[in-house]
C-alpha cells in the first residue's frame, strides 16, 4: 500500500514537472493565437481578454489587404526552396564523399562557419552584390541562404552516411560497380530518411531567416519574416494583424514540428545544428 502510494506520488510529481516545462513553451503560442483571433478592442483591453469571443478573421483580412502578402509567400517559397534544393544537390554527394574519405578540412570549415555570425557573411556578399548590381534580387537572397542550408545538409547527411553499413557497398565494389554507381544505387536509397530530415531542417531554418532578406531584399523580393517586420510594424501598430501575420509565417513550421517531431528531434540531436 505504501509502495503504491509512493508510486502515485512519483507520477504526480512527474506530471507536475512536465506541466511546468511544457506550459511556458506553448503559452506564448496560445497567446499568439488569442491575439490573432481577437478584435482590436479586446486586444487592447485591460485586464486582457484571453479567449476570443467571438473569434474574428478580420485581422487576417487586414494582413492580406495591407500588402502583396501572396507575393511574399511565393518569395519565401522560392528562396527556401531553391536554397534547399541547391544544398541537397551539392550537399548529399559531399556528405557521401566526406563519410567515405574523411574530409576533415571541409568538415572543419563547416564547423567554423557555424561559429560565425550571419552578418559577417552579409557584409562581403552585400558589397559584392552591389558591384554586380544584384542587390534587391531574389538571386542574391537565394545565394546568401546557401550559407544556412549547405552546412546543415552536409553535416546531417554525412553523419547519416557514416552510420550505414559498408558491406553492401563492398560487395558492389567487388562486383565492379563504380563509386558513382555505389552511391546512386546503394547508399542514396538507404540514406533517404537522413536526407529527408536534412532537407526539412534546411528548409525551416532558411524559411525562418530574417537578416539576409532584411538587408538584401527589395520591396518586391521580401521574404515573409522581413515582410511582417517591415510592412506591418511600421505602417500600423495594431496588434491583431501583427499577431495574425506572425501566426501565418510560423504556423507551417509549428505544425511540421509537431507532426514529425521524432524525425526533427533526431536530426537536431545529431549535430546540435541551427541556421544563421
Amino acid at each position: 500500500m505504501n509502495a503504491k502510494l509512493k508510486k502515485l506520488a512519483d507520477r504526480a510529481l512527474l506530471g507536475l514537472c512536465v506541466l511546468l516545462l511544457v506550459s511556458p513553451a506553448i503559452s506564448v503560442f496560445l497567446w499568439m493565437l488569442s491575439l490573432a483571433f481577437k478584435n482590436d478592442v479586446d486586444n487592447l483591453a485591460y485586464p486582457p481578454v484571453f479567449i476570443p469571443h467571438p473569434p474574428t478573421f478580420n485581422n487576417f483580412k487586414v494582413v492580406f489587404a495591407s500588402g502583396p502578402f501572396f507575393q511574399y509567400l511565393i518569395n519565401s517559397l522560392v528562396v527556401s526552396g531553391c536554397a534547399t534544393l541547391t544544398a541537397l544537390l551539392v550537399g548529399v554527394p559531399a556528405g557521401y564523399g566526406i563519410a567515405r574519405m574523411k574530409a576533415r578540412k571541409l568538415m572543419m570549415t563547416i564547423l567554423i562557419a557555424r561559429m560565425t555570425p550571419a552578418i559577417s557573411f552579409l557584409i562581403p556578399l552585400f558589397t559584392l552584390f552591389q558591384l554586380l548590381g544584384l542587390t534587391g534580387t531574389l538571386t542574391a537572397v537565394v545565394i546568401t541562404h546557401l550559407v544556412i542550408t549547405v552546412p546543415i545538409t552536409v553535416y546531417i547527411v554525412a553523419g547519416y552516411f557514416e552510420t550505414l553499413p559498408h558491406e553492401l557497398e563492398e560487395a558492389a565494389y567487388v562486383d565492379g560497380c563504380s563509386p558513382w554507381q555505389r552511391f546512386r544505387y546503394i547508399a542514396l536509397p538507404l540514406a533517404r530518411p537522413g536526407i529527408t530530415v536534412a532537407a526539412i531542417l534546411a528548409f525551416i531554418f532558411s524559411w525562418n531567416n530574417f537578416i539576409f532578406g532584411a538587408v538584401l531584399a527589395g520591396r518586391e523580393t521580401r521574404t515573409l519574416p522581413v515582410a511582417i517586420y517591415n510592412v506591418l510594424t511600421f505602417e500600423q501598430i495594431a496588434w491583431g494583424p501583427l499577431a495574425a501575420a506572425a501566426l501565418l509565417v510560423t504556423l507551417p513550421v509549428l505544425l511540421l514540428t509537431l507532426f514529425i517531431q521524432k524525425e526533427i528531434v533526431g536530426g537536431l540531436t545529431a549535430g546540435g545544428v541551427k541556421g544563421g
Binding site: V22, F29, T109, T116, I119, V215, G272
Partner: protein
C-alpha cells in the same frame, strides 16, 4: 596509391567545396581584407592598416556592446544549461503522450524568431502587456520590462532562455539515451538514493554532453540577433546593444564597411577564444574529478 583510391570521392565533394568557397570562405577572406581599409560604401577605399582596430579599442560604444554581449551570453548559457538538463531528465522518463509533449517543448526553437519576437514585444508592453497583468495576479506591481534600461538585457535573456532551452534538452537527452546501464545497476545495488544516483552517477556521466551543449549555446548566444533587433533594437538608448547589433548598425545603417569588417574579426576572435576557454575549463576540471 592512396590518391588513386580517394580521388573518385573528390568528385563528390567538389561541388560543395566550390559553393562553400564562394559563400563562406570568400566572405571570410574578403572581410579580413576590408577590415584594413577606411571604406564607406559609395566612397573610395583608403588603406588604413590596423587603424580600424585601434579605433575600436578606444570606442566606448563598442566596448560597452562587448560588455553587454558578455553579460547576455553568460546568462543565456547558464540558465538553459540548468533548465535543459533538468528537462532532459524529465523527458527521459516514460509518460503519456511523451513524444507529442516533447514536440511541443521544442516548438520555441523551431518557430520563426521574428514572429515570436513580435509576440514577446506585445507581451512586454508596460500598459497593455499580458506579463504585467500576470504580475498583478501575483500581487507584484507593473514592470517596465524591455523599456527599462536596467531590465532590457534580463528580458532579452528570458526570451533567449525560452527559445533555446529545448536545444540543450535535446543534446542532453541524446546523451542520456547513450549512457551504459552498469553504473546505474551498481548504484542501485549499493543502495544509493535517487539524489545520490543523480549527483554521483548521472551528472558526471552526462558532463561531456552538457559541455557540448554549453559550447553550442555559447556560440548561439553570442550570435543572437533577430530577437534583440525586433524587441529592443539595442535600446532603450544603447542599453541592450550587443556586438551583433552594433555591427549591423555600422554596416547597414552607416555603411562603414571597413570598420564593420574589423568588428567582425574581433567578434570572431571572441567566439573562438570563449569556445576554447570552455574546452580548457572542461579539461582542467577533469583532473579534480
Amino acid at each position: 596509391m592512396s590518391l588513386r583510391k580517394t580521388s573518385p570521392f573528390l568528385w563528390f565533394i567538389l561541388p560543395a567545396v566550390l559553393v562553400i568557397t564562394a559563400v563562406i570562405v570568400f566572405p571570410w577572406a574578403f572581410t579580413l581584407w576590408m577590415s584594413l581599409f577606411e571604406w564607406k560604401i559609395g566612397h573610395k577605399a583608403v588603406f588604413a592598416g590596423l587603424g580600424n582596430y585601434t579605433e575600436l579599442m578606444g570606442n566606448r560604444r563598442f566596448l560597452e556592446s562587448v560588455a553587454h554581449t558578455l553579460i547576455f551570453t553568460a546568462l543565456a548559457v547558464a540558465a538553459p544549461l540548468v533548465l535543459g538538463t533538468a528537462a532532459a531528465l524529465v523527458f527521459n522518463q516514460k509518460f503519456f503522450m511523451r513524444g507529442f509533449l516533447r514536440g511541443a517543448f521544442v516548438l520555441p526553437m523551431m518557430a520563426t524568431p521574428v514572429a515570436i519576437a513580435l509576440i514577446w514585444t506585445m507581451m512586454f508592453h508596460p500598459q497593455q502587456g499580458v506579463l504585467n497583468y500576470l504580475l498583478s495576479l501575483l500581487g507584484v506591481g507593473p514592470s517596465e520590462w524591455v523599456y527599462s534600461p536596467r531590465l532590457a538585457i534580463a528580458c532579452l535573456v528570458m526570451v533567449d532562455v525560452w527559445q533555446w532551452t529545448p536545444l540543450v534538452m535535446l543534446i542532453v537527452l541524446g546523451g542520456l539515451a547513450s549512457l551504459p546501464a552498469d553504473p546505474f545497476e551498481a548504484a542501485h545495488m549499493e543502495g544509493a538514493s535517487r539524489w545520490q544516483t543523480l549527483r554521483y552517477v548521472t551528472l558526471p556521466l552526462l558532463m561531456p554532453f552538457i559541455m557540448v551543449a554549453a559550447v553550442v549555446r555559447l556560440i548561439d548566444a553570442l550570435k543572437t540577433f533577430d530577437t534583440i533587433y525586433v524587441i529592443t533594437q539595442g535600446g532603450p538608448g544603447t542599453a541592450s546593444e550587443t556586438i551583433n547589433l552594433y555591427l549591423y548598425l555600422q554596416a547597414f545603417s552607416f555603411y562603414q564597411i571597413g570598420k564593420a569588417s574589423a568588428v567582425v574579426v574581433v567578434f570572431f576572435v571572441l567566439v573562438v577564444a570563449l569556445s576554447y576557454l570552455l574546452f580548457w575549463l572542461r579539461e582542467k576540471s577533469k583532473y579534480y574529478e
